[in-house]
Symmetry: C2
Subunit: 344 residues, 2 copies
C-alpha cells in the first residue's frame, strides 16, 4: 500500500473507533494490516485462524481484554478473557483445548484482586474443559496502564466433518440467535456510569463450546458460527453478509431482549443491535436442519431462549435488512465505531 493511498483513506492517528467492532476497525484491518501480513488464513477474518498441521486441523485465536471496570455484575475480566477465547475457538468449529494467558498489570493492583481474577480464570477454564498451559506477566508503572489487561490465545482441534466460516452463508440458511442480546454491554455500562436500575443487569459471559457440541451432534449443515461480541449482532451480521456476498433479512420482533435491557437502551438512546454479548452465538444453518438445531439448542442451559431471527437471501447482497416491529424495513448498517469503548 502506498503512503498516498493510505492518506486519502485513513485518519492520521489511531482513533478510539479503530478498536471498536465497526467500520473503522474493519478498515484498519483490511487496508493496513492485511496487505502487510499477507496470507490467506488471516484474510478470512474469522474469529480465529484455521490451520492444517501435519493433518490435524487446528483453530488458533487471540483476544485482548481491556474491559473497564474489571469487576462487573456477572463476572470479571478473568472469566471474560477465558470465555472469550474459548468461544472464538468454538466459533471456528473447534474443540477448545489449550489457552495462553498474558497479563499486563498496573503496579499497585491489590494482590487480592489479582487472586480473584486468576481464580475466575481457573474456574472458567475448568468449566469449559480447557487448560491454561503457558503465560506471561508484565507489570507497568503506575499510571501507564489501567489496572489489568489480559490477552488470551487458544488452540482447538476441528473435527474432520465440520466446516464453518463467515464466507459460507448461503441463501436459504436460517439464522439462529442463542438468546437475549445486549446483556453484557448494558451490564458494563450501568456499572461504569453508576446507573441505579431497579434490577441489576448481569453480563452473559459464558463458554459456548458445550452448546456448539450439541448443535454439531444434531447437524453438520451449520455453515457459519459467530459470537456477536464488540459491535453486537448488527456488526456481526454485516460482516457475514459481506464475506459471504449474500443478503440477510431479520425480524426485529423475534430478537430476544430483556425488558430491563430494553429500558436502559431506550433511556440512553442506545441500539441493542450494536451492543456487546459475551455468551451468545449466531448460527447460519441449512433450512432443512434448522428446526432440529433450534430444538437441540433450546435443551441446553445457554440456548434456552434460542430462536430463528431471520434468513439468508439472494437479494440485496452484502446488506442486512430488518423488518421492524411497526412493519417497515430498516437497513442495519455497520456503525463507524462503537457506542462506547472498553466493553470487553
Amino acid at each position: 500500500m502506498s503512503d498516498s493511498s493510505r492518506e486519502t483513506l485513513m485518519p492520521e492517528t489511531v482513533l478510539l473507533d479503530h478498536g471498536a467492532g465497526g467500520r473503522l476497525a474493519h478498515d484498519l484491518t483490511t487496508k493496513l494490516v492485511l496487505p502487510i501480513f499477507d496470507n490467506a488464513m488471516l484474510a478470512d477474518l474469522n474469529d480465529g485462524a484455521i490451520l492444517n498441521l501435519q493433518g490435524v486441523r487446528l483453530a488458533f485465536s487471540t483476544d485482548s481484554f481491556t474491559v473497564d471496570p474489571i469487576f462487573f455484575p456477572g463476572g470479571n475480566i478473568g472469566e471474560l478473557a477465558v470465555n472469550g477465547t474459548v468461544n472464538d475457538i468454538a466459533m471456528c468449529g473447534g474443540t477448545p483445548l489449550y489457552l495462553s494467558a498474558g497479563l499486563i498489570i498496573e503496579e499497585g493492583l491489590a494482590m487480592d484482586e489479582l487472586e480473584r481474577i486468576l481464580k475466575a480464570m481457573g474456574t472458567a477454564a475448568q468449566r469449559s474443559g480447557v487448560k491454561i498451559v503457558t503465560g506471561d506477566t508484565k507489570v507497568m508503572p503506575r499510571g501507564v496502564t489501567d489496572r489489568i489487561l489480559i490477552n488470551t490465545s487458544g488452540i482447538g482441534v476441528i473435527p474432520e466433518d465440520i466446516d464453518v466460516g463467515c464466507t459460507k452463508a448461503r441463501p436459504g440458511d436460517r439464522i439462529i440467535l442463542s438468546g437475549t442480546i445486549a446483556d453484557h454491554g448494558i451490564a458494563i455500562l450501568a456499572q461504569r456510569e453508576g446507573l441505579s436500575l431497579e434490577t441489576t443487569v448481569t453480563s452473559d459471559t459464558a463458554p459456548l463450546n458445550q452448546l456448539v457440541n450439541q448443535m454439531f451432534e444434531t447437524s453438520k449443515k451449520i455453515h457459519v458460527l459467530r459470537d456477536p461480541t464488540r459491535g453486537g449482532v448488527g456488526t456481526a451480521l454485516n460482516e457475514i453478509a459481506e464475506k459471504s456476498s449474500v443478503g440477510i433479512k431479520i425480524s426485529e420482533e423475534r430478537i430476544p431482549l430483556r425488558d430491563d435491557v430494553a429500558g436502559v437502551c431506550e433511556l440512553l438512546g442506545l441500539d441493542p443491535l450494536y451492543l456487546a454479548n459475551e455468551g451468545k452465538l449466531l448460527a447460519f444453518v441449512a433450512r432443512e436442519d434448522s428446526e432440529d438445531v433450534l430444538v437441540a439448542m433450546q435443551q441446553e442451559p445457554l440456548g434456552q431462549a434460542a430462536c430463528i431471527i431471520g434468513e439468508v437471501v439472494s437479494e440485496h447482497p452484502e446488506r442486512v435488512v430488518m423488518e421492524t416491529r411497526t412493519g417497515g424495513n430498516r437497513i442495519v448498517d455497520m456503525l463507524t465505531g462503537e457506542q462506547f469503548p472498553r466493553i470487553c
Copy 2:
C-alpha cells in the same frame, strides 16, 4: 492456597518487580498462578508449553511486549514481538510456524508509526518463516495506556527426536552462549535516558530459529535451550539450576561483552549478567557433542561469537557460581527484581 499463607509470603499489592525476570516474578508464578491453573504443562515453566495433539508435538507460547521506547536503535516493538515469540518456540525445540498478534493501541498513535511497527512485524515474520494468521486490535483512551502494547502467541511443531526443557540439564553438560550479552538492555536504557555515547549500542533482536536448526542438525544431545531475555543470563541460569537440581559453574572472562556495553554498565553500576538479550541463547549440550555444536553455531550469522562459558556440576545444586576475572568465586544469585522496567 489459603489467604493466610499468601499474606505471609506476598506483598499486598503488585509491584513493578513482579513483572521483572527475578525472584518476585518467580514467586508470583509459583505461589499464586500455578496453584490456581494447576497443570503439569504450565508447571514446567519452559518458555512455552509442550503439547501433544493427536500425535503431533506442539510448542505453544505467549509474550506481551511493553518496551519503552517503542522505537530504539536496532529495531522497534513490532519486530521484538515477533522475534520474541519465534525464539520462545525455538527454545522449546519447535519449528515456529504460526503467530497471533494482539495490539493494544493508545488513541492518538500516529498512523505512520503504527504502519512502521506493522511492517517491522511483517518483515520479521518473513525472515523467520512464520505467518501471522490471527489478530486482535483494541484501542485505549488517551492516557490509559502508553502508545502501543503487543502480545504475540505462537505455535510450532517439535520433531520427534528433539527433547529439550529446563529440567534436563545434567552434570557434565557444557554451557554455550551464542554471543555478546546485555546489548538489548543497554540499547533501550541509553535511548530512554538520552545517554550520548560515542557509539550507538543497538538491540540484538533477531530470530534464533535458523541457528537452532543448525544446532540440532549437528547433535540431538542438546538438553536445554533458553533465550536470556528479561533478567538476563544470570536469571536464566538460576532458573535452569533450580529446575534441573544441578549446580552451574561459569567463567566471567569467557562471557562475551562489547566494550561499549561494558563501559555503560560500569558507568551506571549495572551488572550485564542481569540485562536483557533479545537475540541470544544459552544451550546445555552433552560434553561429547559440545565442540561440534559450538563449531556449527560459529558458522551461523547469529552464532559467530558463540563460546562455551561453563558447565553443569553435581556440586552446589541449585546454585550458579562464577569464577571472576580476578580468580575468585562469586555466587550469581537470582535478583529480587530487575534493574529497570519495560525492557521488552
